[in-house]
C-alpha cells in the first residue's frame, strides 16, 4: 500500500511541480505584487504596502477606456453570438442534405490563427489612400458613404471588433448547440406532433427548455471569454491599442507588464485582479439568475 502510494506521488510529480511553479505560486504572487507600492522591476524593491496600485489603475484613463471597450464588447457580442448560433444550429438540425458540409465550413474559424485572419479582416475593412476597401465598396452599392473601420470613428472600430469577435466565437457555440439539439430524444417531437403542437410552440415549449442547460453554459463561458478579449483587437488595430483607443482590460494588463509602456508588474497585477473580480461577479450573477429561472 505504501509502496503504491509512493508510486502514485511519483507519477503525479511532474504535474504537481509544473502546476505549483506556474499556476499556484503565481496566483499567490500576483496578490502580493498588487499591494506592493512603488515596485521597481530592475532592483526588485518596493517602497510600501497598500492599495495605491488599485487606486492608480482605477484612475488611469487608459484603464477606464479599456473597461468601457470591454463592457461594450461583452454586452454586444455575448447575446448576439449566442442568438445567431441558436438560429444557425436550429436551421442546421432541420436539414439533412449538405448538413456535414455546412458544419465543416462553420467550424473553420475555430482552427484558424486569430491574429492571421484578423489581418484579412483589417484589409477588408480598411480604407487607405489607394483604395476604399472591399466592405466600403459593398456599402457603396447600398449608397452608404465610405467609412474607415480601422482608423476611423470609434463606433466603426467597435463594429469591426464585435463582428470579428462573433466570427471567431461562433464555431464553438454552433458546435455545442447543434450537438445539444441532436441529443433531444426525437420521441418528444413525435409526441408533440401527435398532439398537434405548432412549430413555434414546439420550439419554445420543448426544444428551448431541453437545451437550456447548454445555453446557460454558453452564456457563462461566453461572458468569461469576452471579458478576456485581446487577440482580436490586436489583430485588427495593432499592438498599440491605447493609441487606437481600442484597448481591452487584458490588453491593459499586458501593456503594463511589457512593451513600450511596460515594466509595472504591480499595476498589471492590480488590473488583472480587478478583471478577475469582475468576471467572478458576473459569473455568480449568471449562475444565480439561471438557477432561479430553472426553479420557476
Amino acid at each position: 500500500m505504501n509502496r503504491n502510494a509512493n508510486k502514485a506521488w511519483l507519477y503525479l510529480l511532474p504535474a504537481i511541480v509544473l502546476l505549483g511553479a506556474f499556476l499556484i505560486y503565481p496566483l499567490v504572487d500576483v496578490l502580493i505584487y498588487s499591494v506592493e507600492e512603488g515596485y521597481n522591476f530592475a532592483s526588485q524593491t518596493y517602497t510600501g504596502v497598500g492599495g495605491y496600485n488599485y487606486l492608480y489603475v482605477l484612475h488611469d484613463p487608459y484603464f477606464l477606456q479599456a473597461l468601457k471597450n470591454t463592457f461594450i464588447l461583452v454586452i454586444i457580442t455575448v447575446p448576439l453570438s449566442t442568438g445567431i448560433a441558436l438560429v444557425i444550429s436550429t436551421g442546421l438540425s432541420s436539414i439533412r442534405p449538405l448538413r456535414q458540409l455546412y458544419q465543416t465550413i462553420y467550424f473553420l474559424p475555430y482552427v484558424t490563427n486569430t491574429l492571421a485572419v484578423g489581418l484579412v479582416f483589417m484589409i477588408l475593412f480598411q480604407r487607405t489612400e489607394y483604395t476604399d476597401g472591399l466592405v466600403n465598396l459593398m456599402l457603396g452599392w447600398f449608397g452608404a458613404g465610405p467609412v474607415d473601420f480601422i482608423n476611423g470613428p470609434y463606433w466603426a472600430k467597435m463594429f469591426v471588433l464585435c463582428f470579428y469577435t462573433i466570427w471567431v466565437v461562433l464555431p464553438f457555440k454552433i458546435l455545442v448547440l447543434t450537438s445539444a439539439l441532436a441529443s433531444v430524444n426525437p420521441d418528444y417531437y413525435r409526441a408533440a406532433r401527435v398532439d398537434g403542437t405548432s412549430r413555434t410552440r414546439i420550439f419554445f415549449r420543448i426544444t428551448l427548455p431541453m437545451i437550456s442547460p447548454m445555453l446557460v453554459y454558453l452564456v457563462i463561458t461566453g461572458f468569461i471569454g469576452a471579458f478576456k478579449a485581446y487577440g482580436d483587437a490586436v489583430a485588427l488595430f495593432g499592438t498599440d491599442l491605447n493609441a487606437a483607443g481600442m484597448n481591452t482590460i487584458v490588453g491593459y494588463v499586458y501593456d503594463m507588464l511589457y512593451g513600450d509602456s511596460g515594466g509595472y508588474p504591480s499595476y498589471a497585477s492590480a488590473a488583472a485582479i480587478v478583471l478577475f473580480a469582475i468576471v467572478l461577479t458576473i459569473t455568480c450573477i449568471n449562475l444565480l439568475v439561471s438557477r432561479k429561472q430553472y426553479r420557476d
Binding site: 418528444y188 401527435v194 398532439d195 410552440r201
Partner: protein, 375 residues
C-alpha cells in the same frame, strides 16, 4: 369506432451504398380493430409493427393503401386531426414540465373553436389523472416518478384529448417483471372502463395473449394471422405463428406422412386422417405429450424439472429440430428421473403439421382419442 387498414404498404429508401433499392417495412397489410376492443399487434422486433402504428397515428404516410377510422378515410390527415392518443415506448414525458403540465400540454395546443377555458382544461386533466390514479403526483416532475407511474402519466396525457383511438408502443418493455404484470392489468382495466378502441404493439407474446381481445401476428411486414388469442394458439395458420406463440415453445420435428400416419423417423406416432403422403414439419405443443408406458413416441430422458404445479420433462429425440424437447405434464404423472427412456402418447389436437416448403398448415381430421394414435 373501428380502425380498418386496407392493403397498407410502407417502403423506405434503403440507406448506404445500395441506395437505389427500397426496403419494405410493411407489405399489403389489412386488418381491422373492432370498435372498443383491445388489440395486440405482435411480432418479433423489426417486423414492421411500430411502422404500422406510426402510420395509424399519422407520423408516417403509407406508400400505398388506406386507413379508415369508422367510415372516414384518415390516410392523408395529419396526426392532430385524427383524434389519436399515443403512448411512446419511453413515454416521452417532457422532463421540464410537471405531471399536470404534461397532461395539459395536448389541450393547450387546441386552437380556435376547439380551445377550452383553462378551467375546463384543468377539469379534463384531473379527470384523466383520476382515471389512471395519479392525482397525488400532479406537482412532481417525471424524473421523480417510478417507471410505472411515468407510464400512467403517459396514458393520462394520451387520454386527455378524448381520442377516438389509443395507440401504445411497447407499453410494458421499460418496466421490471413484477410491475409489468400489474401494469398490464391496469391497462386492460382502463381500456375496459373508457371503451376506447386500443391498439398496442409488443414483441412479447405472453403479454399480448394475456390482455388482448384480439391479436394480430406480423412477420417481416406481412400479416401472418389474426384472431382471438386462444383461437390463434389452438389453430395456428403456419409454422411461424405456432413457434411464436406459447411458452415453453412448441417442439418442432422433421417428420413424414405415409398412409395417413405421421412418422418420426421410422416409428409411426399418430393417425393423421386426410393428410397426403409427404415430408412435413410436425409441431407438438409441450402439453400435447402425455407420458404413457406403452406410448408410441420414445425419447431419451435428459432431465426432469419440477416447477410446483407442473412438471417439465426435458428429453432428446433424433427428429427434433432443437437440441432438446420439452413436455409439460401435471404433477400427478410420475416419471422416474433415473430412467433412461420415457415414452409419450400424443394428443392430436396439440399436434400441427406444416408444409415443408412454405410452412403453411396441413389440416388433418384428429382421431377421437389421442391414445389410439399408433398401434
Amino acid at each position: 369506432m373501428n380502425v380498418k387498414l386496407q392493403n397498407l404498404t410502407k417502403r423506405f429508401p434503403a440507406r448506404g451504398k445500395r441506395a437505389k433499392q427500397e426496403v419494405h417495412a410493411v407489405r399489403e397489410l389489412s386488418f381491422e380493430v373492432p370498435d372498443g376492443m383491445l388489440v395486440g399487434l405482435l411480432g418479433p422486433s423489426g417486423c414492421g409493427k411500430t411502422t404500422t402504428l406510426n402510420m395509424i397515428c399519422g407520423l408516417e404516410t403509407p406508400s400505398e393503401g388506406r386507413i379508415f377510422f369508422g367510415e372516414e378515410d384518415v390516410t392523408d390527415l395529419p396526426p392532430e386531426l385524427r383524434g389519436v392518443g399515443m403512448v411512446f415506448q419511453n413515454y416521452a414525458l417532457y422532463p421540464h414540465l410537471t405531471v399536470m403540465q404534461n397532461i395539459l400540454f395536448p389541450l393547450q395546443n387546441l386552437k380556435g373553436a376547439q380551445r377550452l377555458s383553462s378551467q375546463e382544461m384543468r377539469r379534463r386533466a384531473m379527470e384523466a389523472a383520476q382515471l389512471v390514479q395519479i392525482e397525488e403526483l400532479l406537482d412532481r416532475r417525471p424524473k421523480e416518478l417510478s417507471g410505472g407511474q411515468q407510464q400512467r402519466v403517459a396514458i393520462a396525457r394520451a387520454l386527455v384529448k378524448m381520442p377516438r383511438v389509443l395507440l401504445l408502443d411497447e407499453p410494458l418493455s421499460n418496466l421490471d417483471a413484477r410491475l409489468r404484470l400489474q401494469t398490464r392489468e391496469e391497462i386492460c382495466k382502463i381500456q375496459k372502463k373508457t371503451g376506447i378502441t386500443t391498439l398496442f404493439v409488443t414483441h412479447d407474446q405472453e403479454e399480448a395473449m394475456s390482455i388482448s381481445d384480439r391479436i394480430v401476428v406480423m412477420r417481416a411486414g406481412v400479416l401472418m394471422q389474426q384472431g382471438v388469442p386462444q383461437q390463434v394458439y389452438d389453430d395456428p395458420a403456419n409454422l411461424f405463428v405456432a413457434k411464436f406463440l406459447g411458452t415453453p415453445p412448441i417442439n418442432v420435428f422433421a417428420a413424414s406422412v405415409r398412409g395417413e400416419r405421421l412418422f418420426l423417423g421410422e416409428s409411426p406416432v399418430l393417425e393423421v386422417p386426410g393428410a397426403a403422403d409427404q415430408e412435413v414439419w410436425a409441431g407438438i405443443r409441450p402439453e400435447g405429450l402425455v407420458p404413457q408406458a406403452d406410448g408410441p413416441m420414445a425419447c431419451q430422458l435428459h432431465r426432469v424439472e419440477a416447477m410446483g404445479r407442473d412438471v417439465s420433462i426435458v428429453c432428446r429425440h433424433p427428429a427434433c429440430q432443437a437440441d432438446t424437447l420439452r413436455a409439460m405434464i401435471g404433477s400427478v404423472h410420475q416419471v422416474d428421473p433415473a430412467s433412461a427412456e420415457v415414452r409419450f402418447a400424443l394428443r392430436p389436437e396439440k399436434v400441427f403439421l406444416f408444409n415443408k416448403e412454405d410452412e403453411t398448415r396441413i389440416p388433418f381430421a384428429a382421431a377421437r382419442k389421442g391414445e389410439d394414435g399408433a398401434q
